[in-house]
């Protein structure tokens, strides 16, 4: 279960104060697939960063599996990112100097796996998304769809409990976007909790519930299944 209680996030840009998230309260049950939609600057990405421990709330509390994230140290947050959370970004965010398989094995190595084991698991994961012929290519040598598939495999390879995806089809054409959507749909069957920030209605259509955000606030939730969120 992911729980947010009256979460605020304020950024200071020089003399300006940006209230990215304002008093957000949200519960995302285990194994559910949530889509977060809203206009640019509505606080969708900030919400993902807060849940994924990339950022800390200015006020309020966030719990992941009963663990209060606000009380974690820097190392504790890194540990959580390494073991419990997988990120998928719009810009793929693969390390340019590493090959596909090296990118995928990196989270395993950071989490403490031995190199041979990490390499074996990374290769197996890439085969599952039909990238066995591309695993030794660097990101620059891969297409956008291939890069995003590598990024999704990297997010999943450590078998994290939570997948956080920030507009994963935003940089992809329709065909490759559909491939990525298929991969995300499969997550539902694997019992993982997924929160996807998207403008893609197709992704929103497969979500268990959709959260609409505007100006850092949740303005509406639509529950599509019996596992839906509460408002």
């Amino acid at each position: 279960m992911i729980s947010l209680r009256d979460v605020h996030k304020v950024y200071h840009r020089g003399e300006n104060e940006v209230r990215a998230v304002q008093g957000l309260t949200l519960d995302v049950p285990d194994g559910s697939f949530a889509a977060v939609i809203g206009p640019s600057g509505s606080g969708k990405s900030t919400l993902l960063h807060l849940i994924g421990c990339l950022d800390t709330p200015t006020a309020g509390e966030i719990e992941l599996d009963g663990m209060n994230l606000s009380r974690l140290s820097s190392n504790g947050r890194a540990e959580l990112r390494a073991r419990r959370v997988g990120f998928v970004f719009q810009k793929f965010n693969l390390l340019p100097n590493l090959s596909a398989v090296e990118n995928v094995e990196l989270p395993l190595l950071l989490a403490g796996s031995a190199r041979p084991d990490a390499r074996r698991r990374a290769q197996a994961a890439l085969r599952q998304v039909n990238l066995e012929d591309r695993m030794h290519h660097r990101p620059a040598e891969l297409s956008g769809g291939e890069q995003q598939r590598v990024a999704i495999v990297r997010a999943l390879v450590n078998n994290p409990h939570v997948i956080l995806a920030d507009e994963p089809t935003g940089n992809l054409d329709t065909v490759t976007g559909e491939q990525v959507i298929r991969l995300l749909k499969e997550l539902k069957g694997q019992g993982k909790t997924a929160i996807v920030v998207t403008h893609n209605l197709e992704i929103a259509a497969v979500a268990d519930f959709v959260v609409y955000m505007r100006d850092g606030r949740r303005v509406e939730s639509l529950e599509r299944t019996s596992q839906g969120g509460r408002g």
Partner: protein
């Protein structure tokens, strides 16, 4: 930690290959300079100290205490060379020059001590010898001019020939102490005067027979060395240091001793008879009995000299060697400091590279953090990155510096006209230089690495 930071750091270094190599080059140059200067400096020190070791640390030199008011030109090698130009000067001019030289040498103090008297008073002394020196007007058939006339006693030649660099007869024979008309010539003066063994020359108008010619001294250019192979490494600077450390008239005598190529040798015993009315600058050399303190013996000699009112200063070769070592140590420190500045400049270059790298890789740092890299792992990544560049620069610099040392000593040896001079490398130098380069690399990368580790992951991911 299973995560191999070094492998990832190596990838990063390779990804910016040109800049990495330029950064490594900065360290390489600094390390090369340090290795070359230290090893060459150590080589010079070793050679000089070996020279004193060969002479023996049990030798004490007694030199006139009062300095010479010398006409510098008359005592330099170049002016001491008899030349045809001088030979062509008019008789009047020659007489004037002779008068000038006699006046100059007349200032040399006449105080000296009878070596045998000294040996009788100081039981610790086992060997004694003395050598006098004067600058006199020398004439051959074609050439005339001023040159240095050295007068070693038989005791000196037997027991202290090591002090005379290159005293090796290659033509004719050695001096007969009983003969009063024999000379041995240094190689260069013999060549300049165009004479060989058997020829006649005149000193102050008195005829002498050249009975022998010395081998050219290998180290002779500007200033020659004191003794043998070890002395070959002794350049002008060391000779000067040695001369200075002896001080006063002793300095002149040491210069005279180390200039066998341009010297005319006559037996001391005959010189005393020939030039009774003119002063010779005399140095006495004594050797201390084995196991007896040289320092104590110096004090005893001093006491005897003072009691006799003899104006001479005893100084041991050990004291001279210590002084030379101190001087060389200072020179080495200054040179190493200059080289260290080059290394620091290299380190600043590395810091610049690392900081630029952090800026360029900000997004990658954000990615690493998003997939679970801890701050200390990011810190370690950049420290290893810069440390690796420092290490590579250090190892390559060590190699290049070693090569440069041999080239440098070869060039220096050529300039100094010596052969047996080689750089000295110690395990401490190797380990120290490589370790220091690694440390310097880490230090140069410390601030950029800290900056990288502290980056906010969200801001880092937002970087373009």
């Amino acid at each position: 930690m299973k995560f191999n930071l070094a492998a990832l750091a190596w990838r990063d270094i390779q990804s910016r290959r040109a800049r990495s190599w330029l950064t490594v080059l900065g360290v390489l140059i600094g390390v090369t300079a340090i290795v070359a200067l230290i090893s060459i400096g150590a080589g010079v020190e070793n050679a000089v100290l070996k020279q004193y070791a060969d002479i023996g640390y049990d030798v004490i030199l007694l030199t006139p205490r009062v300095g010479i008011s010398r006409p510098a030109a008359a005592l330099t090698q170049e002016s001491a060379k008899p030349t045809k130009a001088v030979a062509e000067t008019s008789a009047t001019e020659s007489v004037d020059m002779q008068t000038q030289a006699i006046d100059a040498t007349a200032l040399i103090p006449s105080e000296s001590v009878d070596p045998e008297f000294l040996r009788a008073r100081v039981p610790a002394i086992v060997d004694v010898g003395q050598i006098g020196t004067r600058v006199l007007w020398v004439t051959s058939t074609d050439v005339s001019g001023f040159t240095r006339v050295s007068a070693p006693s038989q005791g000196f030649l037997r027991k202290f020939s090591g002090l005379l660099g290159g005293y090796e007869i290659v033509q004719g024979r050695d001096l007969d102490p009983a003969a009063n008309d024999e000379v041995v010539l240094g190689a260069r003066i013999a060549a300049n005067m165009g004479v060989e063994a058997g020829a006649s020359i005149k000193i102050e108008g008195t005829p002498f027979t050249v009975v022998g010619v010395l081998a050219p001294y290998k180290g002779s250019r500007g200033a020659a060395a004191i003794s043998g192979d070890a002395g070959e490494a002794l350049g002008a600077a060391q000779t000067e240091a040695l001369a200075t450390s002896v001080g006063g008239g002793g300095a002149e005598i040491i210069r005279a001793l180390t200039n066998t190529d341009d010297a005319v040798f006559v037996p001391y015993e005959q010189a005393q008879v020939m030039w009774t009315n003119r002063s010779m600058s005399t140095m006495v050399a004594v050797r201390v009995r084995q196991g007896v303190s040289v320092v104590d013996t110096v004090e005893q000699i001093n006491a005897v000299l003072n009691a006799q009112g003899v104006s001479m200063t005893p100084i041991s070769t050990q004291a001279i060697a210590d002084q030379v070592q101190r001087t060389l140590g200072m020179v080495k420190t200054v040179l190493a400091s200059i080289a260290a500045i080059a290394l620091v400049v290299g380190a600043v270059g590395m810091m610049n590279t690392m900081y630029t790298s952090v800026l360029e890789r900000t997004r990658s740092i954000g990615i690493l953090k998003s997939i679970g890299a801890k701050d200390r792992q990011v810190l370690g990544l950049f420290l290893i990155d810069s440390g690796l560049m420092g290490l590579i620069g250090g190892i390559l610099g060590l190699g290049v510096g070693t090569g440069l040392s041999f080239v440098g000593t070869s060039l220096l040896a050529g300039l100094m006209g010596v052969t047996s001079f080689s750089p000295v490398f110690t395990p401490g130098l190797f380990i120290g230089v490589v370790g220091f380069s690694l440390l310097l690399g880490c230090l140069a990368g410390a601030w950029p690495a800290w900056h990288a580790a502290r980056l906010d992951p969200v801001e880092a991911l937002a970087a373009e």
